[in-house]
Amino acid sequence: MAPATRSALRFFGPAEGADETLPFWRREPGRRQWLLIACASLGAMFGLWWFATREGGWVPQLFLPPPREVWDAFVRLWSRPYLGSSLGEHVGASLRIVAGGWLLAGAIGLPLGIAMGWWKRVRWIAFPVFQLLRPVPPLAWIPLAILWLGIGDSARIFVVFIAAIVPWVLNSMQAVYSIDNLLVRAATTLGASDMQVLTRVVCRTALPTLVAGARIALGNAWTTLVAAELLAASAGLGYIAVNASRTLEVGILLVAMAIIGVLGALFSIGMQLLTRWVAPWAAAGAQS
């Protein structure tokens, strides 16, 4: 698994046992210090934003509206329908597409990936196909998706699906493939059949890595959303973003971006909590 996917949670955790023989700039701040610095840093960012965009500031308000205006745009989105739907409906439309594509990709990609990790013939056959598929950006599929699937939800789901299937498959494959062979052998000598080894040992042991793959897939799916909603959508966060940008409603555009970002972060955190829930043994031991 790519380390790029390491968590926000990890980022925020203070390291244990600060090494006192190091100078302070090399020493891990304690949890309270961390919080303090983080707040100060965020405060400074907002302060800078406000300062730069005030009347006669360095940045024209058309390019970057001041915080106050973005907040107003949020209130406006929140309180009244925009482009024919309320904010909840827009978010719901986006979630539906992403969930559809991601789950569909998982339903196919997870078993396929596991099979590819476990049976080398399956891997030999399917891996090259994914090697070819991987470097083609999901966005490049949009025109073909319309040609093939028309203008319903299915085309959008397809684009999200394409974005999600690659990590589902490849990470699941890697997860199963890299299981310590010793565990397989131990299970075999205890009398487990091939299928039992796969289901009871390999899949369970690989669970944290499998969930990590699912998380990457969800991230990819979410990333593709905005683009997918260029495509015949009549509601959705991406649809808001595109329309707001066409009408230069920068405030609304920023709010849409922020909502997309926050939801993306929530998904990531949610998937990590899921790991802890389904694989309690992995949370403390294996990773740290």
């Binding site: 010793l182 565990l183 052998r185 000598t189 009398g191 009871r200 043994w281 992995a282 403390a284 031991g285």
Partner: protein, 256 residues
């Protein structure tokens, strides 16, 4: 169990490695046989073949006079690196072999309870492996291997990864188990002392492509049986056997 004329050659990327050359070894019921030999001589390979986890290039493995077939619960293995299932609790690890065999729940529970008691692990029943110390993990691995009542227990340097003191404690425990339960054990180790202390017979292997160099029987009724390992180590008889094996080995150890 009998290993007859077993050779093994690995085809690695670069070329071939002969790991074993015509090895013969028999382990009688209830016997504790140790194998010592220099690093890389093929001890682990021999064990894997004995367990049915690796196929010999030539030769046979027989159990009760018949070909042993693929790996299964008749010959369970305790590995150096414990190889516990990280996603299962101690009790689940121990019961694994029983569950996959479809043993009724009640019987499983009872056997697990028995083994937990035997190994002094009752308090850690629901702990995950990563929450245990190395010594305890290896105890779980031994219990897991014993749970399915194998005909022969194969142990590949089970104490190699433990620190000296934990090792001593476990050595004494295995010795006690053996005296009480009369398991058939094939035991691989680097430590001559350990081999002498635990075994009925010590097999010394040569380096290079491993061959059986010598077998040294150790009487069941030796004076130091039943003592703890430190005390046993000071017995003259013990020391003599140890020295004998050591001399054999020393010739085989390549410096570097």
């Amino acid at each position: 169990m009998e290993i007859r004329g077993v050779s093994k050659t690995f085809h690695a990327r670069g070329g071939q490695t002969a790991a074993l050359e015509r090895c013969d070894l028999a382990v009688a019921k209830g016997e504790f046989v140790s194998v010592v030999g220099p690093s890389g001589c093929g001890k682990s390979t021999l064990m894997m073949i004995a367990a049915g986890l690796e196929a010999p290039t030539s030769g046979d493995v027989l159990v009760d006079g018949r070909p042993a077939g693929p790996a299964g619960p008749k010959r369970t293995v305790v590995f150096q690196r414990f190889a516990l299932f990280p996603s299962e609790t101690v009790a689940q690890n121990i019961g694994f072999g029983l569950r996959v065999a479809g043993t009724p729940r009640a019987e499983c529970e009872q056997r697990i309870g028995e083994l937990l008691r035997l190994m002094g692990l009752e308090r850690f029943r629901d702990a995950f492996p990563h929450e245990l110390s190395g010594g305890m993990q290896q105890r779980v691995a031994i219990a897991r291997a014993m749970a399915v009542r194998p005909e022969i227990l194969l142990m590949d340097e089970p104490f190699g990864a433990l620190d000296a003191q934990t090792r001593t404690v476990l050595q004494e425990e295995v010795s006690r188990l053996q005296r009480e339960l009369h398991y058939t054990v094939l035991f691989i180790t680097h430590s001559v002392e350990e081999a002498v202390y635990l075994s009925d017979r010590v097999v010394v292997m040569s380096r290079g492509p491993g061959r059986i160099l010598r077998e040294i029987a150790i009487p069941r009724d030796a004076a130091w049986r039943g003592l703890d390992i430190e005390q046993a180590g000071e017995h003259a008889g013990f020391m003599q056997v140890k020295r004998e094996i050591w001399e054999l080995l020393r010739g085989e150890i390549v410096r570097h």
